[in-house]
C-alpha cells in the first residue's frame, strides 16, 4: 500500500505539481496568442518576446523595489512589481501597433504579411531586451522558497518519498486562475468584452452594429500585453529569466493554441495543460515509480523514459502534427472568442 502511495508521491512531485505550474504558464501565453488571432487575425510570432520584454520590465521594477527595501513578505517581490511591468508592456504594444500593425490593417494586408511583420517586431524586441538587460540569466525570485519542503512532507506522512511545493508554483497557479477568471468575466459579462467577441465572430456585422474596430484592437493589445507579462513573469519566477528561453517557448505556446483551436480561449487553456502534461509525462523517467509498483524481481535497470528531456520541445511538435493531421481545427474547433 505504501508502495503505491510512494509511487504516486513521486509522480505528484515530478509531474503533477510542475505540470500544473508549467501548464498555467503555457495557458496564459496561448491565451494571448489566441486573443491576437481572434481580433487581429494573425499568429503573433512576437508573443514570446512580448513575454520576455514584459518580464524584463517587471525585473527592473523588482530591482527598484528591492533597493528601496520594499518586499512582499514570503511572496516574491515581483508580484508587487507586476502592475508596473504590465503597464510598460501595454505602452510598448500600443506603440508597436500604432507604428507597425495599424498600417497593415488599413491596407487589409494578407495574414502572411502580418506574420513576417511580427517576426520583425520579434527581433526588434529581442534586440531591445539584449540592449537593456543583456543576454544573461537573471534570477529574481525572492521571498520564501518553499511552501512545503520534501522533508516536511516525509515527516508528516511517514512516506519514503517527499513532495515539495515551491512558492512560485503555488503563486503561478493562483495567479493564473485569477487572471483567467478575470479574462472570462470580461469577455462574457461586460459590454466591451462582448463587443470584442462580436468583432472576432463577424467583423462586417460588428462594424454595421457600430462597434469601433480601433477600440477593439486597442483592448486586444492591452489584454495581450498584460497576459504576456503575467505569463512571462510567472515562468521567469518559476525557472529563471533567460531572454532566449522565451523564443523557445513560442513553439509550445503555438502548439497549445492550435491544439485547443486557435481563437478559442477555453481551447487555449486546455491546450496549455495538454502540452505541459504531455511534455512532462513523456520525458519523465519512470524507473523509481516502476520500482515501487513492480515486484522486486522485475525492477527495471533502465530509466524507463519514453523520450530524453532534451527533446521536450519535440513533444509539442508531435502533438501539433497529430492535431494538424487528425483535426486541424483543434479540440474546441471554431475561431471565436
Amino acid at each position: 500500500m505504501s508502495d503505491v502511495l510512494n509511487a504516486l508521491v513521486i509522480l505528484a512531485n515530478f509531474v503533477i505539481v510542475p505540470g500544473l505550474a508549467y501548464g498555467s504558464q503555457l495557458a496564459l501565453g496561448a491565451l494571448g496568442v489566441t486573443l491576437v488571432y481572434a481580433v487581429l487575425r494573425f499568429s503573433n510570432f512576437a508573443h514570446g518576446e512580448t513575454m520576455a520584454i514584459g518580464t524584463m520590465f517587471v525585473i527592473l521594477a523588482t530591482w527598484g523595489l528591492q533597493s528601496a527595501g520594499i518586499g512582499f513578505g514570503p511572496l516574491p517581490t515581483a508580484l508587487l512589481a507586476l502592475p508596473v511591468g504590465i503597464f510598460a508592456a501595454i505602452i510598448l504594444c500600443l506603440v508597436t501597433d500604432r507604428l507597425v500593425y495599424r498600417y497593415y490593417r488599413r491596407q487589409k494586408a494578407s495574414g502572411v504579411i502580418y506574420l513576417i511583420v511580427s517576426v520583425g517586431v520579434m527581433f526588434v524586441y529581442n534586440g531591445l531586451i539584449r540592449f537593456v538587460i543583456g543576454p544573461r540569466d537573471q534570477v529574481f525570485a525572492d521571498g520564501q522558497r518553499f511552501i512545503m519542503k520534501a522533508r516536511e512532507f516525509k515527516q508528516m506522512t511517514g512516506l519514503n518519498e517527499g513532495l515539495a511545493i515551491k512558492t512560485t508554483q503555488a503563486v503561478t497557479v493562483v495567479t493564473a486562475i485569477v487572471t483567467v477568471a478575470a479574462v472570462f468575466w470580461f469577455l462574457n459579462r461586460t459590454r466591451t468584452g462582448k463587443s470584442m467577441r462580436a468583432f472576432s465572430d463577424n467583423e462586417d456585422l460588428a462594424l454595421l452594429s457600430g462597434i469601433n474596430p480601433d477600440r477593439v484592437v486597442m483592448i486586444a493589445w492591452i489584454m495581450t500585453a498584460a497576459l504576456a507579462t503575467i505569463a512571462g513573469t510567472l515562468y521567469g519566477l518559476d525557472k529563471s529569466f533567460k531572454p532566449f528561453v522565451y523564443l523557445q517557448l513560442l513553439l509550445p505556446i503555438f502548439a497549445a493554441a492550435i491544439v485547443g483551436g486557435v481563437g478559442n480561449p477555453i481551447g487555449a487553456i486546455a491546450g496549455g495543460f495538454v502540452i505541459a502534461f504531455s511534455e512532462l509525462f513523456v520525458t519523465f523517467a519512470y524507473k523509481r515509480v516502476v520500482t515501487y509498483l513492480a515486484p522486486e524481481s522485475m525492477a527495471p535497470d533502465t530509466l524507463v523514459q519514453f523520450l530524453s528531456t532534451d527533446y521536450k520541445f519535440a513533444v509539442s511538435f508531435v502533438i501539433l502534427v497529430i492535431v494538424l493531421l487528425v483535426r486541424p481545427t483543434g479540440i474546441f474547433s471554431g475561431k471565436s472568442l
Partner: protein, 234 residues
C-alpha cells in the same frame, strides 16, 4: 419627397457601373420591395443606399437631408438599420447577446426594446441563451432582423431576407415584416421571390440592368400583364 430616397444613383465596383441612375424611395410604415432579374443591381442599390458602396452620381436623402457622404455606422446612428443577406448573425454568441450587440451604439436602457423584439419573435425568447449558430435558417433570419431592430431604427433595410428558407418560413417572416411596418417603421427590401414580396408591398420597384423599369404599388405591378409576363413567370 420620400422619407428615404436614393436619387439617380450611379455606382458600381471597380471600373464598371452597375447602377445607371436608378431611384428608390420609401415612406414610414410602408413596405417597399425591389425586384428584378439576376444582375439587375438590386443588392447593389441597397449597399449604395446604406453607404457600403460609394456613389459616383446621385445622392441619398434621409428626411430631406443629404446623407450621401456618411459612413454606414453614422447612418445607423441616424436611424437606419440593415440586415445583410448572409453572415447576418454572430454565430458564436447567444441570441440575447446578438440583440445586445445590435444595440451597441445605444447608451440608454435596452430591455424594453429587447422585450418588443421578443414579442415580435417569440421563438427568440425561448432560445435566447442559445448560440445563434445553432438555430435553424428561419430562426437565424429572425435574429438578424431582431438585431437590426435593436437600434430602434426609423427605416429597416433587408437584403433578401427569405433567401434559403422554406416557403412556410418565408410566409411567417413576411407576416413579421408586415407587423414591423405597422409600428411605423419604413421597410425597404430586396427580394428574389418577387410574387410573394409584391403581395405584401405598398410600393414595388422593378429594376432592369441598373435602371428603374417599372415603379408602382405592389398590387398594380402584380396586375400589370407586362410585368407578370416578363418578371413574375406569367
Amino acid at each position: 419627397m420620400s422619407f428615404l430616397i436614393g436619387e439617380e444613383m450611379v455606382c458600381g465596383y471597380g471600373g464598371a457601373d452597375i447602377l445607371h441612375g436608378c431611384t428608390i424611395g420609401v415612406e414610414p410604415g410602408e413596405i417597399a420591395v425591389v425586384v428584378g432579374p439576376n444582375g439587375a443591381g438590386k443588392s447593389t442599390a441597397m449597399k449604395a443606399m446604406f453607404g457600403m458602396l460609394g456613389l459616383r452620381e446621385g445622392r441619398v436623402l434621409l428626411q430631406g437631408e443629404d446623407i450621401s457622404h456618411l459612413k454606414p455606422q453614422e447612418r445607423v446612428l441616424r436611424g437606419m438599420g440593415f440586415v445583410p443577406q448572409t453572415n447576418n448573425v454572430f454565430t458564436s454568441m447567444t441570441v440575447e447577446e446578438n440583440l445586445e450587440m445590435g444595440a451597441f451604439i445605444r447608451r440608454d436602457e435596452i430591455t424594453d426594446t429587447m422585450q418588443q423584439v421578443f414579442e415580435l419573435f417569440p421563438i427568440l425568447h425561448d432560445k435566447r441563451a442559445q448560440p445563434a449558430g445553432e438555430l435553424s435558417g428561419g430562426q437565424r433570419q429572425q435574429v438578424a432582423v431582431g438585431r437590426a431592430l435593436m437600434t430602434q431604427p426609423k427605416i429597416l433595410m433587408l437584403d433578401e431576407p427569405t433567401a434559403g428558407v422554406s416557403p412556410i418560413v418565408m410566409d411567417e417572416l413576411f407576416d413579421r415584416i408586415i407587423e414591423v411596418a405597422q409600428t411605423g417603421i419604413a421597410i425597404l427590401m430586396v427580394e428574389q421571390n418577387a410574387k410573394q414580396a409584391l403581395n405584401i408591398a405598398d410600393r414595388g420597384y422593378v429594376l432592369v440592368q441598373g435602371r428603374n423599369a417599372y415603379t408602382d404599388t405592389g398590387a398594380a405591378l402584380m396586375a400589370d400583364p407586362e410585368v407578370r409576363r416578363a418578371f413574375l413567370g406569367g
